[in-house]
């Protein structure tokens, strides 16, 4: 497949929860090497889209298709999607008492390796990898031996998400408001980390409310999600426009066209 290097292809995706329609026909193509930003008012369905892509079972997909490198994503379990290279940095990372970040990640890394037919990683190699990736986000070493996310500050949790992303080296990363809760220095660090990880082989969907993040992680495309649809797409300048004008004009455009 030399012709198209499209990695993720979402076609007319509709999803609901408990009978409530939330995604109403999403179309989106993401090619390897690209960064797509998704913006949109609260409740538009951004986190829902990321959860549906990651395979959260609570949502019913009623229509549409999603493929990752040509494979039907919707047909896979959440864990297989992850092993295929989908990573979601959660808007609200979950706490898991009693399980250290190190142990959790070791399990995750080795599960993925098993899926790929590889042997589990040697303990020393794993620890080396940990150290290396921790530097990316200047993660404090003491955090990795503590229970996963338990008692972490908001910012520490977000940083830990990016650290996990670095460890798992996904194809497609979805960052759901990773910038919220980060202080100014952390925002810069995390963004620089993401930029270092960017390559021609992976892609990012960055969900955010603020232009500031996009100053650091410059997107190739910006999309506006509203009422479960992508209602406007553009380049990085669209984000700047939104920062100035808010969403009312887009909402008005949408209402007018209906």
């Amino acid at each position: 497949m030399i012709a198209t290097n499209k990695m993720l292809s979402i076609k007319n995706l509709k999803a609901e929860i408990e009978g409530k329609k939330i995604l109403n026909g999403i179309n989106l193509e993401v090619k390897a090497g690209e960064v797509h930003a998704i913006m949109g008012p609260n409740g538009a369905g951004k986190s829902t889209l990321s959860a549906v892509l990651a395979g959260r079972a609570d949502y019913d997909v009623t229509e549409g298709s999603v493929t990752l490198d040509g494979k039907d994503l919707l047909d896979m379990s959440a864990e297989d999607r992850a092993r295929e290279g989908v990573f979601l940095a959660f808007q609200y990372p979950i706490e898991i008492p009693g399980v250290s970040t190190t142990n959790f990640l070791k399990t995750a890394v080795n599960e993925k390796r098993k899926y790929q037919g590889l042997e589990p990683m040697e303990a020393t190699d794993f620890l080396k990898l940990m150290r290396q990736k921790m530097e990316f986000v200047e993660m404090d070493k003491s955090l990795t031996s503590r229970s996963l996310n338990e008692g972490f500050s908001g910012g520490e949790k977000k940083r830990n998400e990016i650290f996990q992303m670095a460890m798992l080296e996904p194809k497609l990363s979805i960052l759901d408001e990773t910038d919220s809760g980060l202080d100014i220095d952390a925002l810069r660090l995390v963004s620089e980390g993401v930029n270092k990880l960017r390559s021609k082989d992976n892609a990012y969907i960055v969900i955010t409310h603020y232009q500031r993040l996009l100053d650091y992680i410059v997107p190739d495309f910006v999309h506006v999600l509203y009422k479960g649809r992508i209602v406007k797409s553009g380049d990085a300048s669209l984000a700047k426009e939104l920062e100035l004008k808010g969403y009312d004009w887009i909402k008005a455009e949408v209402e007018a066209s209906m």
């Binding site: 992850a82 250290s100 399990t107 995750a108």
Partner: protein, 483 residues
């Protein structure tokens, strides 16, 4: 234990059922069904017991007849019909066993299959094993090496003949025949079990372990374990157990007695994996045991660690009587229930001596439609000045049809002592599972990971080799608990 291992184990066990459910086809000698004075005499005669022990049994039996089966707990269950149980079952074999060569190969194979090698393999790991099959002890390994140090480790039926003065002195000294319904029953009909004596000043050079296997149909298992640690001695002892899958319930009513003298320590660990019954709650073992230790001497210590994953019903309260000044009692427990299992377990810490200390860490995990209760008593007598207890009692629920209950009883009779109780209940939530799934960790592995994390404090107390075993068991017993 390394984290690597933790993860490997959980991998390994995915999609296994109760793998100890097979039964061994072997020629057995059994007592007639049912219970009577005749049967008590039959068992005693089989063991060629001295007169005093027969009398002791008969007294217990007569007392048992006056008792009513306890019904104080909240749950109803099919009652035991004592006339439908075989109280003695033994593989037909030579009476005395001097070496393993004389053991029926079929039996050795059975234990091999259970991962308990009585022959070569186990020797490498440095654990001495006593294997009990239905009513009799089959073999005890490492006897000679232990003997050099003066350590006695043998079947209790053997100890009755070889060390009558010790047995006579200590048997029933911690759990009297009149203690409770099941203890009285056990005293009347106990068949075998292990006996351990550690002489003054000796640190037992290896782990001692007894492995119990119920094999025969319609039998009950009533073993009796007696461990004595003389002044300044130390021993770590572990018991494990399994049973074939059978549709009817089988009764296991053991009694364990521990005695520590001045500055002595006994560490007693249990990995209990009796057949729990099937997913609909049919069959399984009734595990009604009485375990108690007395810290007789000053600065002595008894530590109970248990991992309870099996049995249809478990009632079990390993206890410590802290009689010697400055003595310490510990109780570390993990109890897992799934499907229709019921577990009511905990401990009693009775502070009698001054400056006595006790610590309780209980982790209960309930899945399916099971119920899991912690029931514990901390009693500080008037003279037990400046004593301390710390209790931590955590429950974890998996799914929303299971129950966790906590019944702490606290009684402090002086004002220089300090008793602390902490409790928590948590639930493995969908969010946690999805988070794990999203990182490529499947649901069963995720539960294993979370549960092992939850129990870490207790698992860390187990000898290395058994900690590995215990982790596997936790994962296996929770299989199919979600989804």
């Amino acid at each position: 234990m390394s984290e690597n291992q933790e993860v490997d184990i959980i991998d390994e066990v995915i999609s296994q059922d109760y793998k100890y459910g097979f039964s061994t086809d072997i020629e057995m000698e059994t007592a007639p069904m049912g219970l009577s004075e005749e049967i008590v005499r039959y068992i005693s005669a089989k063991k060629n017991e001295p007169e005093w022990l027969l009398e002791w049994r008969l007294k217990a039996y007569r007392y048992w007849l006056t008792l009513k089966e306890p019904t104080w707990q909240n749950f109803s269950y099919p009652k035991v019909n004592y006339q439908d149980i075989i109280f003695y079952a033994a593989p037909k074999q030579k009476i005395t066993l001097d070496s393993l060569d004389q053991v029926d190969p079929e039996l050795l194979k059975t234990f091999e299959k259970l991962g308990i090698s009585l022959t070569e393999q186990k020797r490498l790991t440095g654990v001495a094993v006593d294997a009990v099959f239905d009513s009799v002890s089959i073999a005890t390994t490492f006897k000679d090496q232990l003997k050099e140090k003066g350590v006695i480790f043998c079947a209790i039926s053997e100890a009755v003949h070889e060390h009558p003065e010790l047995v006579k002195k200590y048997l029933g000294s911690v759990v009297p025949t009149t203690d409770n319904y099941y203890a009285a029953l056990n005293s009347a009909v106990f068949s075998d079990g292990s006996f351990v004596y550690i002489p003054k000043g000796v640190r037992c050079p290896m782990e001692l372990s007894t492995y119990f296997r119920i094999n025969a149909e319609n039998t009950g298992q009533f073993e009796r374990t007696l461990i004595i640690a003389d002044d300044n001695s130390y021993v770590s002892y572990l018991e494990g157990c399994t049973a074939p899958m059978r549709d009817e319930n089988q009764l296991h009513a053991a009694v364990v007695e521990l005695i520590t003298h001045d500055h002595a320590e006994i560490k007693y660990s249990t990995v209990q994996n009796w057949y729990p019954g099937d997913k609909e709650g049919k069959g399984g073992i009734y595990n009604f045991v009485t375990k108690r230790g007395i810290c007789e001497g000053v600065h002595s210590k008894i530590s109970w660690t248990q991992v309870e994953t099996g049995s249809a019903i478990t009632w079990k309260y390993p206890s410590c009587i802290l009689k010697g000044d400055h003595s310490t009692g510990e109780f570390f427990s993990v109890a897992v229930t799934n499907n229709h299992q019921l577990a009511d377990t905990g401990t009693k810490m009775v502070h009698i001596g001054k400056h006595t200390k006790s610590r309780i860490v209980s982790k209960g995990i309930s899945a399916g439609k099971s119920h899991n209760s912690y029931r514990g008593l901390v009693k500080v007598n008037k003279k037990a000045e400046k004593s301390r207890n710390h209790t931590q009692c955590d429950s974890m629920l998996i799914g929303d049809r299971s129950g966790a209950h906590t019944f702490p009883y606290i009684e402090v009779n002086n004002n220089t002592s300090q008793v602390e109780h902490e409790a928590s209940t948590s639930k493995i939530g969908e969010d946690q599972l999805f988070y794990c799934n999203q990182r490529g960790i499947g649901t069963e592995e995720a539960i294993g990971l979370i549960v092992n994390g939850f129990c870490k404090e207790v698992l860390n107390q187990l000898p290395m080799e058994f900690a590995v075993e215990a982790q596997k068991l936790l994962a296996v017993s929770l299989e199919g608990s979600v989804g």
